[in-house]
């Protein structure tokens, strides 16, 4: 059944906030949303129960029960851990800085490069062999080399760069190639210059593909940062925290580190999907 949806843009502009609240409540009590929430809760509860059962069955210190990990999760945020002398906030901040920097580098380079390679056959023929050589190499495989050449500050950043770069590049190229030729012809017929064609037709059409590339890249980026920090990372990092705790046998703390990574990954990819939806809506309105 279709529920009546209040559109902020089309109703009385004097009371947008009230309309927003109505819309939110309407959505909240949508049966589909309630069903999704209930299923999510059941799923997470089942996960925790299975974890507890396996931990009890194994009775091993290497798989601490959820309660112990929850306690460790709280403790690691309260002060420095003895192994690294840093709190979890410090580790998260250190990882985030590397992550953001690597991501920005990848974004700034991959997007224009992808647009050019998608648009120009010569650029594609020139760049494709190089891209195809490097793309299959897992970013993690570069880490020992990067740490020696670039050190433990820029090394992990470049590992993330590599992880994010290729999904973004590939998606942007694919996006450019997927632009409807009728649109292109129509724009040309109407006298669009190449820069205008690029700005008004190609780039907007590519944005949804770019966002997909970013979402994929973000997931890979977290894998890279954790792996890079295993090898060494100045200023700490969640990966560094995890490996140090496993080295000294604090498995409950190590699991707390894993949960932090899961949350960070979930938040960043969730944020990316949110932006992706917003951009899609925006593009639809153009």
């Amino acid at each position: 059944m279709n529920r009546p949806v209040v559109d902020d843009n089309k109703t009385n502009g004097d009371r947008p906030s009230r309309n927003g609240i109505v819309k939110w409540f309407t959505r909240l009590f949508d049966l589909k949303v309630i069903r999704t929430i209930v299923i999510t809760i059941i799923s997470l509860t089942a996960f925790v129960v299975v974890w507890q059962v396996i931990a009890n069955a194994l009775s091993s210190e290497f798989l601490p029960p959820p309660g112990d990990v929850f306690d460790a999760f709280i403790i690691v945020f309260q002060g420095p851990d003895p192994a690294t002398g840093l709190s979890m906030w410090d580790h998260i901040w250190a990882s985030l800085q590397r992550f953001i920097l690597g991501f920005i580098l990848a974004f700034v380079i991959a997007v224009p490069l992808g647009l050019i390679m998608g648009f120009s056959k010569i650029a594609e023929d020139f760049g494709k062999p190089i891209v195809e050589i490097f793309r299959p190499i897992p970013p993690i495989a570069w880490i020992p080399f990067l740490l020696i050449v670039l050190g433990s500050i820029l090394g992990p950043v470049v590992a993330i760069f590599i992880g994010v770069f290729f999904p973004v590049l590939s998606n942007v190229i694919f996006g450019v190639k997927s632009v409807d030729p009728i649109l292109m012809d129509a724009a040309r017929t109407l006298g669009s210059s190449k820069p205008t064609l690029f700005r008004k037709v190609i780039f907007p059409s590519t944005v949804p593909y770019l966002m997909t590339g970013i979402t994929i890249g973000l997931g890979i980026g977290w894998m890279c940062i954790v792996a890079a920090e295993f090898f060494g990372a100045r200023g700490g990092g969640v990966g560094q925290f995890i490996i140090q705790q496993s080295n000294i046998g604090r498995w409950d703390w190590m699991f707390a580190g894993l949960i932090v990574i899961a949350i960070l990954g979930f938040v960043t990819t969730g944020f990316s999907r949110f932006i992706e939806r917003r951009v899609s809506n925006w593009m639809g309105q153009m």
Partner: protein, 362 residues
């Protein structure tokens, strides 16, 4: 230019500025009477000093000798100056494996003793063919040249017996870990020990070395042992010697004593923590590793092992970039360590705090 174009330009500008600011933050360090440490694998530390990534490091041999012989680093303190006779590597045995295969454990210990005796003889005559062969074995294993190995051997002591000094050293290490909060004091009782001395006395098992000379070679292979070791660590040269077929007279010493060796991680493990994780995961039966990670993971995680023999004492060093010439130069500098669970890390921390520095992770 429409609004969306301006907005896009602003977003790109913000992203670029955020990137530059991030890079700036990442490279900043606090001022003060602080020395920093950062974990870097020993084999990468020399390169890290050369590139200016760190200002010094602490590692085991041959990485200390390697750096100072080619002029990349200066040795600031050899570990025998910091802590004479300090405990280092040991042979650890999975306790269940020891219960199931006591004969194999005894035989591995016998091989270790034989290898140590061969090394002692080779070292007693530096012009002998065996000494040259020892250097070559070390060079092949660690991927360093024989000059580096010769220097390394001057700074470490091979030994297989537990003496009082070694046991006292293990007690000191345990006390320091409790002091630093790396091990909760309650863990001692939780693991069934009444105090630290009781723990050390129970953790080592010198019984394997008793009547070791009675163990005879075997014509047949009596069983397989999964043997773990550290990558390129010259401290563990006895294992390399034992694997050499020339030393064993046509077959390696393990085979000579009826043991088939399985390498659970060809090339070795990066550090003792990784060897302990291999024990915990049931991937190895016997392992060569540093005593500190063995203590840490036994107490913290209950990894069920005991120590069957000593491998070496000493053999590490704090080294610095040659531009560092006085202890005052240490201020604000960053040192690489193999990781929190290593004896090298513990010695660096002890030395620096003893010199009045606050020590922080970089």
């Amino acid at each position: 230019m429409n609004f969306k174009t301006i907005l896009a330009a602003v977003i790109v500008a913000v992203i670029v500025i955020a990137g530059i600011a991030g890079a700036y933050w990442l490279t900043q360090e606090e001022e003060g009477n602080v020395v920093y440490w950062t974990p870097i694998a020993p084999n990468l530390q020399k390169a890290a000093v050369a590139s200016g990534e760190v200002d010094g490091g602490v590692a085991w041999e041959p990485y200390c000798s390697d750096g100072f012989l080619d002029g990349t680093t200066n040795v600031w303190k050899w570990s025998d100056e910091l802590w004479p006779g300090h405990p280092c590597c040991v042979v650890a045995v999975d306790n269940q494996f020891a219960v199931d295969h006591p004969d194999l454990v005894k035989r591995v210990v016998k091989v270790h003793v034989e290898a140590n005796r061969w090394i002692a003889e080779a070292l007693s005559n530096t012009s002998s063919a065996n000494y040259t062969m020892l250097l070559e074995m070390g060079a092949d294993f660690s991927n360093r040249n024989t000059t580096v190995i010769a220097s390394s051997l001057e700074h470490l002591k091979f030994q297989y017996e537990f003496d009082q000094e070694f046991m006292d050293g293990l007690e000191v290490i345990t006390e320091k870990y409790i002091e630093q909060g790396l091990v909760a004091e309650s863990k001692i009782q939780e693991r069934g020990y009444s105090n630290i001395s009781d723990f050390v006395a129970s953790f080592i098992n010198p019984a394997w070395l008793v009547d070791i000379d009675d163990v005879q070679p075997s014509e047949t292979i009596l069983g397989q042992v999964r043997l773990a070791y550290l990558t390129g660590d010259v401290h563990q040269l006895a294992r390399v010697v034992a694997m050499n077929t020339t030393v064993g007279g046509g077959e390696n010493l393990f085979v000579k004593y009826g043991i088939g060796i399985i390498d659970p991680n060809p090339g070795g493990y990066a550090n003792g923590g990784a060897v302990m994780t291999a024990f915990a995961g049931g991937q190895c039966d016997i392992g060569f590793l540093g005593s500190p990670p063995a203590i840490l993971q036994h107490l913290n995680a209950g990894v069920d092992i005991s120590l069957a023999s000593v491998v070496n004492t000493e053999g590490s060093a704090i080294f610095v970039n040659p531009s560092i010439t006085s202890i005052d130069d240490f201020k604000g500098k960053t040192f690489a360590t193999p990781g929190v669970s290593s004896i090298q890390h513990l010695m660096l921390l002890d030395y620096l705090t003893g010199q009045g520095f606050e020590v922080k992770q970089a």
